[in-house]
Assembly symmetry: C2
Homo-oligomer: 147 residues x 2
């Protein structure tokens, strides 16, 4: 079986190790800011992909449009996102991060990934170069995988 090849093993081991750490930080940050995990996820998606329609939120998170509407409502109330009318279709709404939402998410990401700094500090310049190269390859392969 291919799944037990050396590189697959390494990738899995790395992901196991980082996922735990990252998830914990993520959940903590969301909670400490008074947001639920789904709410925070919506903000992350918005940051990642720019603006979104309501129905795309519903689809992405596999919930009903009603739930999506309620979910985003709270984020609007909190001032993290703006819900504007789509000029090309007046039924539709476009959701996007507000200035405050942008700031909030960036801070969250910063906090979640602070440990990466501690990690890379322990590496020599040559090691860093090797890893950068490897990750660049991986990211490129990942992108082509999605398409």
């Amino acid at each position: 079986m291919n799944s037990s090849s050396r590189i697959d093993q390494s990738l899995r081991a790395w992901m196991e190790a980082t996922m735990h750490r990252s998830m914990r930080g993520w959940i903590r940050f969301a909670r400490s800011s008074g947001l639920s995990l789904p709410q925070f996820s919506v903000l992350m998606q918005l940051r990642h992909r720019g603006s979104f329609g309501m129905s795309e939120i519903a689809e992405k998170f596999e919930i009903t449009p009603a739930a999506a509407s309620q979910l985003t409502e709270k984020l609007v109330q909190a001032g993290y996102i703006e819900r504007i009318e789509d000029p090309s279709d007046r039924r539709a709404k476009l959701l996007r991060l507000s200035k405050a939402g942008e700031k909030f998410v960036v801070e969250g990401v910063e906090e979640r990934y602070r440990w990466i700094n501690d990690l890379t500090k322990r590496l020599s310049v040559e090691e860093q170069a090797k890893i950068s190269e490897a990750l660049t390859i991986l990211i490129k392969a990942m992108e082509s995988l999605i398409l």
Copy 2:
């Protein structure tokens, strides 16, 4: 600021990409099996760390002992974990995966990481070697970071 160095950027980009994909698969698998995300997380922890006491669950997930008890109860009912008396302290319970639980989690991990296969198939042998080497360095650094 150090956080904008090349390697940190690569690591973040890679983690952003993989986290999204992995999380989605994780949530899907948990849901499709009728487990909540916290319940599935407990199973993952048990697999990762062997057996656990109830209070450790509570601590790990930052919930009350009462909640931990209720959480695990469902997993016992479902036959995924065994709750046995700690021989060294008869108040305490040791939680561990049952045979069925073990099988279930392994299948879940398999499903979650299937895409890694698709990814590595796209890489040349040299690329794979480079990445394996890089990841090995990372994993080692990660381990020393935890200590």
